[in-house]
């Protein structure tokens, strides 16, 4: 018997997980739809110009995706918060990897698919409704307001913003959600808040390290682009730019973009393996 991964066992575990949580998940999707409707209704009430501009749709999608995604990921291993449910979870005959894979499937993959689906259902309905109002009453149609009746494609950025912008935003969102997934295993209680505080502390420590510690060893200057160039300020002879070699820069950029989420998953896996039930 494979102790690490067995496809049939994983399918079995995933169906068990779905069966036990489907009510909760379907209700959550309903709640997401309700929240989006509330948010758009609020915008319609307070905005005199077009409340469904492309930017608003885009920002709504990504902010909602990240906030709800983080909340969802932080609840993924909520069973581990309490002794009784932790025993139920840990004693179930499936490997830690299979349990993690199901966690990733539901909190990242299926969440992404279902959130996007709910978003588009609500977005399409509201845009159509607004268009009808605009056609009937003439509201929101002044040229200044940039009225559009288009349902925006959230995966394609306008050319002036760089074609891969949304890919990077999506990768960053998945990376952050993966941190919350780790937080749901790492912390016993108040996972969401503790993860948020931890991420903030790590970020501040990083900023402090870059600006206060590294600067002690470097000549007077600053990082640019964002860390691939170090510009040494020299008033008399002119600034001097020290650039990382292109290949090293590409590797660092690649790792920065694509490794955050997998690193978090590996950490979650080991944390899951070493989890004990003290309560």
């Amino acid at each position: 018997m494979n102790s690490f991964f067995d496809f049939n066992r994983w399918v079995l575990y995933t169906s068990k997980h779905w069966n036990e949580n489907k009510k909760k998940y379907l209700l959550s999707l309903g709640a997401i739809g309700g929240l989006l409707i509330l948010w758009y209704s609020f915008l319609i009430l307070i905005t005199r110009d077009n409340p469904m501009g492309e930017n608003i749709q885009m920002v709504t999608y990504y902010v909602g995706f990240n906030l709800i995604g983080c909340l969802f990921a932080s609840l993924m291993f909520a069973d581990l918060n309490e002794g009784a449910s932790a025993i139920h979870f840990l004693m179930l005959p499936a490997s830690a990897f299979e349990k993690l894979l199901t966690g990733i499937l539901f909190s990242l993959v299926l969440f992404f698919v279902s959130y996007t689906l709910v978003y588009y259902v609500v977005d399409y309905a509201i845009v159509k409704w607004i268009s009808t109002i605009a056609a009937e009453t003439g509201h929101y149609t002044k040229a200044d307001y940039g009225f559009t009746s288009k349902v925006v494609n959230v995966f394609v950025a306008p050319p002036d913003m760089g074609e891969n912008l949304y890919l990077y935003i999506m990768l960053a969102c998945i990376g952050v959600q993966s941190m919350y997934l780790l937080g749901s295993v790492y912390f016993v209680k108040y996972n969401f808040i503790k993860t948020m505080v931890s991420v903030l502390v790590i970020f501040l420590a990083f900023v402090f390290f870059v600006h206060k510690v590294i600067s002690l060893f470097m000549p007077y200057g600053a990082f640019f682009e964002p860390f691939s160039v170090y510009r040494v300020f020299n008033g008399d002879k002119g600034d001097l730019a020290i650039r990382l070699p292109e290949w090293l820069n590409s590797i660092c950029l690649f790792l920065f973009k694509y490794s955050l989420a997998p690193v978090m998953w590996v950490a979650t896996y080991f944390r899951l393996k070493e989890k004990e039930v003290n309560a």
Binding site: S3, K16, N19, D79, I87, M91, L92, P93, K273
Partner: protein
């Protein structure tokens, strides 16, 4: 089947075990007795891989429990004192959980459910605490795992259910299984367990088979002042004194588990002298 060697374990501020040794064999129902907070649940969790030893080794069915390998988990079942069951109907519990346990027996499960008088129409969360516990016990027994760990299984059960529990348990043991029941309600396990292990202050205070106990000790009510005075342990009651004496006649008496437990806790040396002789 279960070998614990030189187990050291402690929580942050409290040492629980310092060099505990214990061996459990298949074909027995072990009663793990002890006061609250003496480490019974901690020991079960170490056996189940829910807590990891600080030092020493725990070996269950040839596995290191802390690795929680699926092959190990599918041959061990734990009924914890505080348990969780998802909000699903009984049928779904069987449909989605039973496939993880290769030796699960549907007929056996249905028999236990009927025996425990559990209504099938409700989802698990709509059942009372006692009913849920009985579902979990039934499921655990029907899994037919080689090791079954039960932590205070009779807590929360009414008088009828306790008697049903004893009846069900008595019928499920065979030579391949090892059942460990931890409890402080010793009366509930009378006539059920065949080996008694008493833990106190993280140490094994007493570990004997029931057969050995009843061969060496006699439990009876006495009105004879001389016998009462010389008894290894005595307890006054309305109808004479309940005493434990050395079994000199060779006639086996009915084990009074509660009396034995008190004797070992209060007067351990006298009892041990009989077994060490």
């Amino acid at each position: 089947m279960i070998q614990i060697q030189n187990l050291h374990f402690g929580y942050r501020r409290k040492k629980v075990f310092t060099g505990l040794n214990l061996q459990l064999q298949p074909g027995h129902i072990y009663g793990l007795l002890g006061k609250n907070g003496t480490g019974k649940s901690t020991l079960l969790k170490n056996m189940a891989g829910l807590l990891f030893p600080d030092e020493g080794s725990v070996n269950v069915l040839g596995f290191a429990p802390e690795k929680r390998q699926p092959a190990f988990l599918q041959d061990i079942f734990m009924v914890p004192e505080e348990f969780f069951l998802p909000d699903i109907p009984i049928e779904h519990l069987v449909k989605y959980h039973a496939p993880f346990y290769p030796k699960f027996n549907d007929d056996q499960f249905n028999r236990y459910i009927t025996e425990f008088d559990i209504p099938r129409s409700n989802t698990l969360q709509k059942m009372s605490y006692g009913q849920k516990k009985k579902v979990l016990i039934s499921f655990g027994l029907a899994c037919n795992t080689s090791v079954l760990l039960m932590d205070e299984p009779t807590n929360g059960l009414d008088i009828m259910s306790k008697s049903q529990f004893r009846k069900v348990m008595a019928g499920c043991i065979d030579e391949t299984k090892c059942i460990v029941i931890s409890t402080h309600q010793v009366k509930d396990l009378e006539n059920l367990i065949d080996r008694i292990t008493i833990i106190d202050e993280g140490k094994i205070l007493f570990d004997q088979t029931v057969e050995n106990i009843t061969r060496k000790l006699s439990f009876h009510i006495s009105f004879d002042n001389e016998e009462i005075k010389q008894a290894l342990h005595r307890e006054a009651s309305l109808r004479g004194s309940a005493v434990i004496t050395r079994n000199v006649t060779g006639e086996e008496s009915k084990l009074d588990l509660e009396l034995l437990y008190k004797a070992i806790i209060l007067n351990g040396n006298a009892i041990h002298s009989v077994f060490n002789a």
